[in-house]
Symmetry: D2
Subunit: 374 residues, 4 copies
């Protein structure tokens, strides 16, 4: 019975264990009151949470809003935004889910009232981060601006939750949002992917899921570039038709060769390398499109003349908008992609710092490191 | 001072006067408690409300949900959805408006949580009408599913409110949502209107505003069809390049003649006539688009073969989605259109039934009849 | 060597055998001069051609332009528009293909100069059918307005040709355009199909390929309705999650049941039944979209009020626009769909009338009947 | 009679005078054979041609294809791409225009056969520049890859020609393509401009026309930034609600102030300044869009992190795609904008080098310098 899934009850206690941020890099296990779900919200018992590269940045630099706004380092905040769990309590008016449902979560719950939310761009909510006190507009981004999932429970807006089928493991379900981010990148570039050529640059989790999603959607060829053969090999398993180790071959030349000199229709940039955008622009053809899903931290030289002369569009993306996570889940649910290929390590909740260490230092070639409750 | 605009105070009493529906066609003046604005909501003191054709249907047949769902005729409901007023009370977390602001209102406030709202289609909210009791999902459509504006006050979701400039009269401000509905029709057909030819069929309020919006956006030619010369003359004043009295000329032949046999790019159908869609399809060219902003009550014969063979798209529209009302207001604010041309009569709040009578029976050629508070 | 594929040479003779239309239903074998490819054109040696439902209409009623324009029945015209073959001669300036390439063909080559072509809507070319004499604008629609493929050779605009991979049979390659038409229907409804629910009504070739394409793109559930279990069974093989025999169940009720009362996001209407659009509208949800890929020949009663009240968009489609055929081929090439399921019969070129008879009368449950050259 | 417009006959002689490029900066008057219009082409007698900033680049560096491809400096080439004239000869099958029609010209005639043309992106034609000899694919870009308008006659593809109304002067008609380029920039950013805020950076001809087009479409506010008060004043005349002299004010701070801290929805970047994209990104809000219609010649540092974190899309544009020139003409024809404000000087054909000198050195504050035939 789901009431005892993983040996845990669906009864909700008063307090929970949670990891919180202190000073940079300081993660401390503490106890917090369990939050109450409001209207349109659900309390989820966390069953598994994956470590994301952004978690590592948050640990070092604080929340994105803090980075940009110069606010002090955030204390007592619980990170963690790639998670899944079990519905244990419903807010007022919620009948879309029921107690015991297994769910995975998107990150962004827009305020639903601002101009951006109203046009469907909820990951760019104008009230981003305004969810406390007098300024409460209802925006949530668990693990970014509201408490995340390195804890026993988390409150979620219902429109961020997606049912997890019975035959999908907890670990795999934590990867849905990663696949959804890649899918969002494909969507913003136009969404009609079948039969189009695409280069994915950078075989991190989003890049690898980008390969998988592009292949599911019928892209051909799917070309993956990177520096490590082990990662490129995973790309091949996930559907890449060609892989390019950029330490051995010039990626622009090779993409041109593979596409008979035409270049690819789309580039999904997931490396954040300094010259990645310039290379992407040379890999695509006139009228091509590039999605930036990663970025270098410092300004880098960009050949804008090439973009303009070739009518190239460049899409920066924040998060996993346009309900792309649902589309990604559709392919995962239909077993069209084996996302577990990128899941390399699992740790207990008590070992969270070790899990983060593995992810950060890529210990034993770690890619996706999952923390499992029990 | 705005506190005493129209001789009325911004102080909010406990009770208000409101017209309510009893049996079909029975409108009764009563007293109601003044509703409280919740989070993301504002209490608006109604200053003016126009009578819409849909109000007349609601008076006869009850609310749309009722028509479709077979529920009993709605009692104690206050209709009225084309209105403007003054902000008198702010719900929790609202700082987008301030007390005393003049505002006009869109009708549809989506729940903000469903799939449709999340993709920006809030007038097609999946939780339409679910705003009471246990089922409360936060949807509002004042004058349709929630109390409307034939009353002294109404609660509004903030995302339905648009600031009214000082130099726009109360009467004109009630027309913004009509213009917004027409604008929505243009948007769904593609939005790139400048230089394109368009036929607007039916010179009711939405049709006439459709002429005005299409002309503002640069359409050429704008052709209006109708049966009454007085209405067509208004169309000319609002920007129609050609008008066709269909009692005197065959509208399809005439449109073809005016477009050198090519037909128009777009048809905005606002007549609801039985053969309107078939005629629209013949007026447009291969690949053309038709928006249905009106409809006959009974099923009518449609030549679907013609639509398919000619790759014609037909867009039924509900309400004023895609924030089109804001776009309509932009042109009205910039004095690019004189919407007051369609405002023909004004009555006091106490005379509301008379106002409705004038609108229904088109007494003295009434088009837009406005009820003004004082 | 491909020069002798099927025992035939790539040398081009002066004359060819071709089936031509005389009076209605009269197909006659004759000899014609082999047409010369002009700039941007290629001469294709026909290797296989499938019989389409539209061929049957053309045999009875003449060309579409004739049906609509009232012109006399077309004599000496060669029908046939679902075909593949081998490149045997290149027009001036053509280097996109080379002699010996196996290709399959889309139908519509827009004039490339009109407003519709310029916006990418080439199946709605404003110069449709204008390809002879003084009026020659370069439009081609082989088998519709220019000679088709029940002949040994046909000229094609290069932008209608798609390379056929070595491991795809001639017979399967004739089905690409059918799949492309279904794909076009999915594209015009928005193209973001993964995770969305869809009903396909009518299990003819386009409907069955619609099931396959929707499933390839990740739709879930895919529901197919029809009257014959054998066809529905094919739908299941091609990816339908549910099939409904409308002789046994009410399709609207059943779709609602299968979607928990929500209705489907999309309906691809391929039956042409009188009440199909009304049923489709009831099967979808508020804000849903319907593509009409088939149609009844006579006007039918349509409940337009339901479309307008529910913000439903209806897309009539002509042909296989937006390069959808390339997208369909991508999935077929990747073996994501076994289109040969719908190929039931093969005849020799000399037996063309028999092939047509089988297709028309559905002899032995014929679906796709292919004529093979040899 | 139009046959003698400007005292010139519609009779076409055998030879024409034309300015041609020799070495960089060397423009020489010579005599050329008059080209013959092919199918879908028209011979236009040039009546007026404006000097564009791109002409100045072509004079110094050769054609764009040459710059990119490293080909030798192009000799005997006639530049000039902002022109209008009179139809004097029709190619085969052309009946869209008639002899004596006044027309203005877009630059890009796509090949009509490539993948980009087929999706409507003809300014990104894959066969760009391939219009000679064996490689002839029919692409034309007069003044770029095919002979331009500093000559007495030029051949044009019919889909690049737009009728000029009688009451529009030759000089004004040369400005349509400039306005069209600005309009294309607005289109690619989404096209729904009414009521949206926009910053135009750089008050060159495209920037000033961008202000005008945005205002025509209902943008509010329209903010123009630049360094020279005389240009900014023109912007005000053309519809700018606010102008910012960036020598006196910080443009980012000022845009934020003018938009109540929200930033603008759109930025149309027309300055080509090194930091323009970074400033544009700071001027817009989360989810905002930037069109690059100008560019610095060298790579410049770009803060990509800001683009990604804020889900900003950046659109490089080549030319005047999507038939935007027709939309621009619609507003000019309707006298919604007085484009002649940016026309400052006129010279005779014989004085072409002087006209170019004025444009290049901005002699007497020259903006648009027009060469007039006579």
């Amino acid at each position: 019975m789901s009431e005892f899934r993983n040996g845990r009850t669906l009864e909700v206690p008063k307090k929970m264990k949670a990891w919180v941020l202190d000073d940079p890099e300081q993660l401390r296990l503490t106890e917090k009151p369990i939050p109450q779900p409001g209207p349109a919200e659900i309390l989820v018992r966390i069953d598994a949470v994956a470590v994301c590269g952004t978690d590592l940045e948050i640990l070092s630099y604080g929340l994105p809003a803090i980075i940009e706004g110069g606010m002090p380092f955030n204390k007592n905040f619980t990170p963690g935004h790639e998670y899944m769990g079990t519905v244990v309590q419903l807010g007022q008016g919620v009948d879309d889910f029921k107690i015991g449902d297994r769910v995975t979560a998107e990150i962004h719950a827009g305020c639903g009232r601002c101009e951006r939310c109203r046009e469907g761009m909820y990951t760019s909510c104008s009230n981003y981060g305004l969810n406390y006190g007098d300024k409460d507009k209802g925006h949530r981004a668990n693990g970014f601006t509201t408490d995340g999932a390195f804890a026993e429970y988390a409150v979620n807006n219902i429109n961020t939750l997606i049912p997890v089928p019975d035959d999908m493991s907890d670990e795999e379900a934590t990867l849905v949002v990663t696949a959804g981010t890649a899918m969002y990148g494909l969507d913003v570039m136009g969404g009609l992917i079948a039969g189009k050529s695409i280069a994915v640059t950078g075989p991190g989790p989003i890049g690898l899921m980008g390969v998988a999603m592009a292949k599911c959607l019928g892209a051909q060829p799917v070309i993956l570039t990177g520096t490590r053969d082990s990662r490129l090999e995973m790309g091949t398993q996930l559907g890449a038709d060609h892989v390019i180790n950029i330490r051995q071959e010039n990626p622009v030349d090779k993409v041109m060769e593979l596409t008979n000199g035409k270049g690819v229709h789309y580039v999904l940039e997931c490396s954040g390398a300094s010259n990645a955008l310039n290379e992407a622009a040379k890999m695509t053809n006139r009228g091509g499109r590039i999605c930036l899903a990663a970025f270098p931290h410092e300004p880098v030289p960009v050949d804008l003349a090439h973009l303009v002369r070739n009518n190239i569009y460049v899409y920066g993306i924040r998060g996993e908008g346009k309900s792309a996570t649902h589309r990604a889940m559709a392919f995962m649910k239909q077993k069209r992609v084996d996302a577990t290929i990128i899941h390399t390590h699992t740790f207990d909740f008590a070992e969270t710092p070790k899990a983060i260490h593995y992810a950060k230092e890529r210990v034993e070639d770690a890619i996706k490191v999952v923390v499992k409750m029990n």
